[in-house]
Symmetry: C2
Subunit: 563 residues, 2 copies
């Protein structure tokens, strides 16, 4: 029986001393739990992704120093830890150290480097070519890293074929709403292919636009999930694997690193694996949790305590306020409403009701007078011209300024409240409602905003008033304005956007699927011509398979037009 512990930790990019301390803390816990092997996630030491920090030679050097210090503390445990390795030609590797008896006994270099979507690993790393296997008291195991197990017939297969009965996969796999199912399905397939146990140790936590969702798990050679850690929080997953009987049955001609472990493993109390399986959350609950974790970690890891939200009484800012409270606590959230002459009594009332329901601080700063002074100052230049989007944007920017003034004065992080549908078509004002340090629901289509808001009320009680759900969406920038004066109905819009943005489908294909070729064409034109706005938008939490962030790199200057 072998006791493997997956240390699903939340580290911070670049925080070598902090991450080192956390790793040591978890090693203590693992020792208390009488673990044989402890596995940490991919690049657990540096945080993931370290991006251009990797171009700093001193950063890589400091990471090696941390690794050495950690290794020196390890006695009988076998520790598998993600770090950045470097060779004598200064090539960098996304690496895993296998540590025991005070030193690094062997190193694995990631073979398959993802360079698509949000990933840029070929920008930094060289592909590994060696594949050592490891012997733990004569039991052979292999180590691989994240993408290594996603590519068909990858290194994992040769590791199994050469004798590994246990594969340890270190991952930092970013969350999207479909990821968990894909991941578990894949790993079940891999375990069967390999006829080996697979332990999948995933990172947890928010890093800029990415959330790592944890949910580490263990699959048996027959494809059964034996254990699953919690999602969206740190966890220590402990499993006892009955590996003794099969030892030595398989052995290939590859390099084996025989770890200096002591004698035979003695019998252990077996943890009942079936009680160790945390249930998978429902998809919408996962979205809600991802938004909370992503927000909390952006706020706290960047040294903020309090956050600020412009509350309009609409669904978007209401949901952001709920998420913010769940993330940092009601005492750390301030809502400000900034009514103009176009704001209805209902929306002002709803903004206040939400603040009260959430128990957050509430402020009001009317903007009409400021707006009027601007219009007076601009009158000589604008004389004779009808009011249009320039005046609408101005109001949004006055609100943005007030929020930023509070943010600058008190050091509160301004949370932006725009949703994915808006930012896709550019139905938002640069330096206005787009102002802020972190755009919480930037990757939630409008329809999803309603669904998650509904779920939030189900979980937390009716914090968002029903009137907010019922009122047709409006920017309230001119009399009786409705979003649907300018945009197609959101249910159609969201479908078109999913096809165009997430799936890169063509005008022809989308029109064929949903009809309305003129509407589709208009939407595509709006998306294409808003690229400059998105380029200046604050970062937000990736929820869908393709968010407007690192996985969306369209040129601004782009004359491609589908006829």
């Amino acid at each position: 029986m072998l006791r493997v512990t997956l240390a699903q930790i939340n580290v911070t990019v670049g925080d070598l001393p902090g991450n080192q301390k956390k790793i040591l803390d978890y090693l203590e816990k693992a020792k208390t739990l009488k673990s044989d092997i402890v596995v940490f996630p991919e690049l657990a030491l540096t945080g993931y992704p370290p991006e251009d920090l990797l171009y700093k030679e001193h950063f890589v050097r400091d990471n090696l120093k941390s690794l050495k210090e950690i290794a020196a503390t390890v006695k009988d445990l076998v520790v598998v830890l993600g770090f950045v390795d470097i060779d004598k030609n200064k090539n960098l590797y996304n690496a895993a150290a296998v540590i025991t008896k005070g030193k690094v006994q062997g190193v694995y270099h990631k073979h398959d480097l993802p360079n698509y979507g949000v990933f840029d690993e070929k920008r930094y790393f060289t592909e590994g070519v060696q594949h050592p296997l490891f012997l733990f008291n004569d039991m052979c195991f292999g180590v691989n890293i994240c993408e290594d197990i996603w590519q068909d017939e990858g290194i994992y297969l040769s590791q199994a074929q050469n004798g590994a009965m246990l594969l340890l996969n270190l991952s930092s796999s970013p969350y999207d709403y479909e990821k968990l199912e894909r991941r578990e399905k894949l790993l079940i397939k891999r375990a069967k292919e390999c006829k080996a146990y697979i332990c999948y140790a995933n990172l947890v936590g928010g890093q800029d636009e990415l959330v790592f969702d944890g949910g580490s798990f263990v699959v048996s050679p027959s494809g059964k999930i034996l254990a699953r850690a919690e999602q969206f929080t740190e966890d220590l997953l402990v499993v006892d694997l009955p590996l003794d009987d099969e030892r030595k049955k398989r052995r290939g001609p590859v390099k084996m690193i025989d770890l200096p472990t002591e004698g035979e493993l003695i019998g252990r109390i077996r943890i009942d694996a079936h009680k160790n399986i945390m249930p998978r959350m429902q998809q919408d609950e996962r979205i809600f949790k991802a938004l909370i974790l992503g927000t909390r970690d952006y706020v706290l890891k960047n040294g903020f305590k309090k956050v600020l939200i412009g509350l309009s009484g609409g669904i978007d800012s209401s949901l952001v306020a709920v998420i913010a409270r769940e993330a940092v606590g009601c005492e750390n959230v301030i809502g400000i409403t900034m009514p103009s002459q176009f704001s209805s009594a209902e929306t002002r009332g709803d903004a206040q009701a939400i603040a009260e329901n959430l128990g957050i601080e509430f402020k009001e700063t009317p903007i009409k007078e400021i707006n009027d002074v601007y219009l007076k100052a601009l009158a000589p230049g604008f004389s004779g011209l009808p009011s249009n989007v320039a005046e609408e944007n101005l109001q949004a920017r006055v609100r943005g300024n007030i929020l930023m003034a509070y943010s600058n004065k008190f050091g509160w992080l301004l949370l932006t409240t725009g949703n994915k549908s808006e930012i896709a078509v550019g139905y938002c004002t640069l330096y206005g409602d787009m102002s802020g340090g972190f755009a919480v629901i930037k990757d939630l289509p409008k329809g999803k905003v309603y669904e998650i808001s509904r779920l939030a009320n189900d979980i937390l009680g009716p914090v968002i008033p029903e009137s907010v759900f019922d009122r047709p969406p409006t920017a309230e920038l001119r009399p009786n304005q409705k979003d649907q004066d300018t945009l197609p109905p959101y249910d159609l819009l969201d479908k078109i956007l999913q096809a165009y943005v997430e799936d890169h489908r063509s005008l022809a294909a989308i029109s064929k699927k949903f009809g309305n070729p003129q509407v589709v064409k208009d939407v595509i034109r709006m998306v294409d011509s808003s690229e400059y706005k998105r380029r200046q938008a604050p970062p937000g939490i990736k929820i869908t398979p393709r968010a407007f962030g690192k996985d969306w790199r369209l040129p601004m200057t782009n004359k491609y037009r589908e006829i």
Copy 2:
């Protein structure tokens, strides 16, 4: 004698019909010039870099359709044209088509895909593995693409060793201030290594943050530059190469595609290559030209006619106004000055003088009244707190709003005027002076701003008044404010920034070089903590080897601190 023509064209990303038309126009010109071979730059058909447009299958299909249409028009010429190829497994290739007699006779796939700096080619393309050579009336030549010739012992060498006496390199090589010398030095070395003629056909034009500088050239086997095209403008470079005598001397065992050309080449009037060498511009003149071209192309390719600049009377906005006028003409530039109670009569006067000297439209909108109304509205929230950066930022944002109101009302593109030193240390206001669609001098350190301004006056006459050069830099956001109240002297600051930002040097190394460890530490802290601002900054023209754009990907959430 073989007549090779390099078509150094300025195309637009995604504009397949427009690019196709331009290619056909240049083919007409080349025919008139009795060329044998015409070479276009890398990905000339799609524009470079097409980025995530490549994820659209229909875009790739449309590019192939354009290629076929172009090929159908080609008769006796041999045309080498950059396009995107796709194989049956849907792998994409950065490719060159060799066309004659109405069809594509052979295709080369780029071998070395750059995936560093501003490049993401491994995100999209598969590395080529084949290397066909081509026979033109028994004369063997090889085709390779950009990076292929930068990596030591690359495909270029095997092409030469297998018989190519002429190498055609299709490039889209982005400008930086050191690039031209590096490029020419390298190609001279390669020509000698290969004992072959090298024709280097480079793209020209601006594409978002990149400028391609042209300057296509031809090197002889002895390493002599035989011809050089103009820089920063379209050009057609024609050379006659005396290849007849050496034919057939070398031939390797690789695949040769014998082009269906007709009989022997007949004698031609030889163009005197020595008269064909455009002189290299001086480094500062190249910077000035790059800024003008980058601005012009961003403005015009994005469908704008006029641009707007906030004129403060300082050196940054003065230089941007000069560049703008050179880019789009004085009738298309509007300068607005927005004095507050902190603005001096001198800076207001200088702003107006610059507008008059440049012959651009000039407007004035005072901001004091607007600012006062804001302060009144914020007074309840700010009561008892001293005025600080919140109030300073507010003024900058009022100015940003006025400029954006004009931009929105009239469709003028707002040019941002911040320099690299400011944006590096965060000495700029998000949504304030950082507002705008294009940040012209974003990659010019402050010291360089003065140098280029001086050069502009030398070239254009004294358009920027001497008082602007003489006055100590100030943001004019509080009484008697000077930049050097907050920042180290710019000459020291710029040196530290170059070491930290461009060269990724450590605190220890920089302090060792320039002394002042506390200043270096402060600067590093300011740079690190401004990442969130840069993430929301408008794009600007890359001038240095590492700009704050695609070649700077630091995490915002980043706790790496050098002790």
